[in-house]
């Protein structure tokens, strides 16, 4: 365990210093996340002009969903994009062999190898918006604890789905674009699920569990959903994570029997 933590520290300090070579990126990332946030807030403001309630959500509550979305995007930019989109390169260049010959869990290696500082603006804005909503809505301080846990579970869901999609490249190197599909679905997580027509809601809850990424965490923070929803979210997160590990093992079995 300490070995994994020490490895993680070195992974992150190395990739951080590599990314810092390109300082202009930081400005770009900040501008992009400001624009995204302003656009999202403007849309919510449009929804709520002339009314106080949309499908049972007040404007500040809807803003909380957007805060969670922004935070998740930030974490994805920092951790998921720089790692999972590179799996295809490991396969293409054959350097996955080196990863497999390291005495460390290969899924861990591929998922944590890089850390990009460019997710930081979104993480900070997300945390800011969530804090603003919690204070504005007069929620008890325990809401912060619930928020941390709920967002962590949401993150596990996003990670597991993303990792499984990214590892399809073991079979079909050309389908690395498939993760963009997931990203576009995630965009739907900007707004509360009740903002969507019923049919979409079903898809976004049961087919691609976008609801569990932002809406359910928000409901948990707001106290709109109780302990049973917590249990469901936790089961989904843990279940998907386990499936992602089994999936990776299955993919590797294929890789190691088919590659020459």
């Amino acid at each position: 365990m300490t070995r994994y933590l020490r490895t993680l520290r070195r992974f992150w300090s190395a990739s951080f210093s590599a990314e810092m070579e390109y300082r202009a990126n930081f400005v770009v990332a900040t501008v992009v996340s400001v624009l995204n946030l302003v656009g999202g807030v403007f849309t919510i403001w449009l929804f709520f002009t002339g009314r106080d309630d949309l499908g049972g959500w007040s404007m500040t509550q809807a803003l909380l969903v957007m805060g969670i979305f922004t935070l998740l995007s930030g974490v994805s930019d920092a951790l998921l994009v720089p790692n999972l989109s590179r799996i295809v390169h490991f396969v293409q260049q054959g350097t996955l062999d080196y990863v497999l010959l390291k005495p460390i869990d290969s899924q861990y290696y591929l998922s944590t190898r890089n850390l990009s500082p460019w997710g930081l603006p979104n993480i900070l804005f997300g945390l800011g918006v969530i804090s603003y909503c919690v204070v504005k809505l007069d929620l008890p301080p325990s809401a912060f604890g619930i928020a941390a846990l709920a967002v962590a579970l949401a993150m596990a869901v996003v990670y597991s789905l993303w990792f499984m999609l990214a590892s399809i490249t073991i079979w079909f190197v050309k389908v690395y674009n498939v993760t963009h599909v997931l990203q576009s679905f995630m965009e739907a997580g900007k707004y509360p699920m009740s903002a969507f027509p019923h049919a979409y809601r079903v898809v976004l809850t049961f087919v691609i569990p976008v609801a569990f990424m932002t809406t359910v965490p928000a409901q948990l923070i707001l106290g709109k959903a109780g302990g049973d929803w917590f249990a469901i979210a936790a089961m989904l997160a843990v279940g998907l994570f386990i499936v992602s590990r089994l999936w990776w093992r299955f993919a590797l079995r294929f890789y190691t029997s088919a590659s020459s």
Binding site: T7, R10, S17, G94, T95, Y98, L101
Partner: protein
């Protein structure tokens, strides 16, 4: 240290005809054929041995190396490396081996090699003082210095390969699998890498299995070679033994007192070339002494040398003529 018993690997590959029609036909009706990349290969390598693995492209060398390192699962037969079954890829096994591939790199492109070394030290659970000691020793053996702190992308191919070797050996592996470690290097860099491997082998009593296209690597490092051809092991023994087995002839170069005319030397052996007073002949080994005696008795010989044919040529002939078939 390394034991392979009837090791085999076959693949099912798509058998597609060229052209658009072939592609369409392939889309609807897939045909597959089985390719036997490695066929019942058995050998046993003792601790500390340096063995050269030779064969033309596509002979099955890399496939065999991958089975030995546990990257691919054998179709048949068994392997044991350092007492482990490679394919389980247990940490205890992985900590004892290393794989260096000349055409693939593990160092991080944008960062100095020292960063990659720090990461490897953490992965292999080597503490900082020990890691520093090992890096210093290996860097000195490889005559690396400020190269370690320059971004890898700014290094020359030779410098990069040396850094790759350092990174691959930081955990003091007992078994080294080297796939074309000198590929594309200039003569000086090749010599440094060779010398380094020899020193490392001596110092750590490491077992080395190496493939190379450069015969000089093999002659400099390996006392034992294995020839693999179309997936089968056709020779396993000393380098000299190859000459005896596949080249039972010698090259005789004679210089006579007078210019040689065509046809004059035909009775002594197979004439390779005639240039003024010098002739080069190929003579079967069992007829060698007799031929030399005859030459000295019948001709006015000024100078004569008898040499082994170059090993590259012999091995090249083995692979193109398919002596094994």
């Amino acid at each position: 240290m390394i034991e392979a018993d009837n090791l085999s690997k076959s693949y099912r590959v798509a058998d597609k005809q060229p052209g658009l029609m072939g592609t369409l036909r392939h889309f609807f009706r897939r045909k597959h054929k089985t390719v036997e990349a490695v066929k019942s290969v058995s050998f046993n390598i003792e601790p500390g041995e340096v063995v050269g693995f030779l064969g033309p492209n596509g002979a099955g060398k890399t496939t065999a190396l991958k089975m030995l390192t546990g990257l691919i699962h054998p179709t048949d037969g068994s392997v044991s490396v350092a007492g482990h079954r490679p394919f389980a890829r247990k940490a205890a096994f992985l900590k004892q081996i290393t794989l260096v591939m000349g055409q693939k790199q593990q160092l991080l492109w944008d960062l100095p090699a020292s960063e990659s070394l720090r990461i490897n030290a953490a992965i292999y659970d080597i503490d900082d003082t020990e890691a520093k000691r090992r890096i210093d020793t290996l860097a000195e053996m490889l005559s690396l210095d400020e190269e370690l702190t320059k971004p890898v992308r700014k290094l020359s191919l030779g410098e990069r390969m040396k850094c790759e070797l350092l990174a691959a050996l930081l955990h003091n592996p007992k078994v080294l699998f080297l796939d074309e470690p000198t590929l594309g290097l200039d003569v000086n860099a090749q010599a440094t890498v060779r010398q380094f491997l020899r020193d490392y082998n001596k110092e750590h009593e490491a077992t080395v299995l190496l493939t190379s296209h450069y015969m000089a690597d093999i002659t400099a490092l390996c006392e034992r070679v294995m020839l693999i051809h179309k997936g089968s092991l056709i020779y396993d023994g000393s380098l000299d033994g190859i000459l005896n087995q596949f080249a039972p002839y010698r090259e005789v170069k004679v210089e006579l007192a007078e210019p040689i005319t065509n046809g004059q030397m035909d009775t002594y052996g197979e004439v390779q070339s005639i240039d003024g007073r010098v002739a080069r002949l190929i003579v079967q080994r069992d007829a060698l002494t007799r031929t030399v005696d005859r030459l000295l008795a019948e001709r006015d010989v000024c100078d004569m040398t008898v040499t082994d044919p170059p090993i590259e040529e012999v091995i090249g002939r083995v692979f193109t003529d398919g002596v094994a078939d």
